[in-house]
């Protein structure tokens, strides 16, 4: 099994976001980095984040709970959310699941 690192998770997320952007908006040339914001840079709407939650669940199972992660945040934090912060959360969740 590939060890869980920020790089591997960023690659996973990039794949999911690229597919989502292409399916929903026909966009296929977006660069995604750790500092990319979901709202301002990717122009994702909150309903797109629900779709992303589904993709994360398909990929990682119940080890990663995106809905709970966002439910613990203030509205402004969600607006400012970066791909990097989600990457850190996923890495942390996967490591916790491995340890547990």
């Amino acid at each position: 099994m590939t060890p869980t690192t920020e790089d591997t998770v960023l690659a996973d997320l990039t794949g999911m976001l690229t597919a989502l952007l292409e399916d929903e908006y026909g966009v296929d040339d977006v660069e995604i980095t750790m500092t990319t914001t979901f709202n301002r840079d990717l122009e994702l709407e909150s309903i797109d984040l629900v779709t992303l939650a589904g993709l994360l669940q398909e990929h990682y199972g119940t080890k990663v709970n995106f809905a709970e992660f966002l439910a613990g945040m203030e509205f402004d934090e969600i607006i400012e959310l970066t791909v990097g912060r989600l990457v850190e959360y996923v890495v942390q969740s996967l490591k916790a699941a491995e340890a547990g």
Binding site: N39, E45, S46, I47, A67, E68, A71, I79
Partner: protein, 271 residues
């Protein structure tokens, strides 16, 4: 992503279930508001704690909104209640459910409870009201003012919103303008059938009204308590119409207490 075909259109549905090993104690159906809203307003706020508390949560996008189908016509309140009824029938969720509605979604939820009192275990109205004779022209007036601004000078209106309310709100407004352009929603809503006071009174399940202290709708709280047989209202100071996303924890707590008190789950959990 789950799509449910009601026979009329496809509705986008999301369910959140209690964690493995936790027996569901109740089902809650969450209905979002008009134009800029979608089930996401629940998915990332009150739905996760509800599921953790043992509630089977059903959320869906109203027609024209989110990922649901967008027919050109059919946007009266009764059309929305028909959709909710068909959806719950398809999902085989026909037992009494706890209905929660934000803004217009509360009017839909209350309308469902008025149509099927036996299917409503409770109704929670967030910044919302039943469809009274005064409701339809009031909402029609708001829709027409907002959409008139957007339709006549969309670029200027969006630039103003962006400068004064932020980029995100401007983008939501753009989506709302598109929905209004592509559908008969703004004509259909004010033409909706409304409830008589007797029909409103006939909703005998517990009703919780939650309002932002700075919202005009908070003025309705005493009337709602006086007209309904079992109603309590809560006013949350310092908030306006967006109180659900701004004070989700407080709102979720109030609704959860109501659901738990009607199912007896709180007593069980306290032992």
């Amino acid at each position: 992503m789950a799509m449910v075909d009601t026979g009329q259109l496809r509705l986008h549905v999301q369910r959140m279930s209690p964690p493995e090993g936790v027996r569901p104690v109740a089902t809650a159906v969450l209905v979002h508001g008009l134009l800029t809203d979608s089930l996401a307003s629940y998915y990332f706020t009150i739905a996760p704690p509800f599921a953790l508390a043992g509630i089977d949560v059903v959320m869906y996008d109203l027609r024209g909104h989110g990922r649901s189908g967008r027919p050109a016509t059919g946007y009266t309140l009764d059309d929305n209640i028909d959709d909710l009824e068909a959806l719950l029938d398809r999902l085989e969720v026909t037992g009494p459910v706890h209905l929660v509605g934000n803004s217009y979604g509360g009017t839909v939820a209350f309308g469902y409870a008025a149509r099927h009192p036996e299917r409503a275990a409770s109704v929670s109205l967030i910044e919302s009201e039943p469809a009274t004779a005064a409701w339809a022209p009031k909402l029609g007036g708001i829709l027409s003012r907002v959409l008139h601004e957007l339709a006549h000078n969309e670029d200027d209106a969006l630039a103003w919103i962006s400068a004064n309310r932020g980029h995100n709100t401007a983008r939501l407004a753009k989506g709302a303008a598109r929905l209004a352009r592509e559908t008969s929603l703004s004509q259909d809503i004010p033409a909706s059938g409304v409830l008589t006071e007797d029909q409103i009174r006939a909703v005998h399940c517990p009703v919780l009204g939650i309002y932002g202290g700075d919202s005009d709708l908070a003025l309705l709280a005493p009337w709602l308590e006086s007209v309904l047989p079992d109603c309590r209202t809560v006013v949350i100071p310092g908030h306006e119409h967006s109180v659900l996303v701004e004070a989700a924890g407080t709102i979720g707590g109030h609704i959860l207490s109501l659901i738990q008190s009607t199912t007896g789950a709180a007593e069980v959990a306290a032992r």
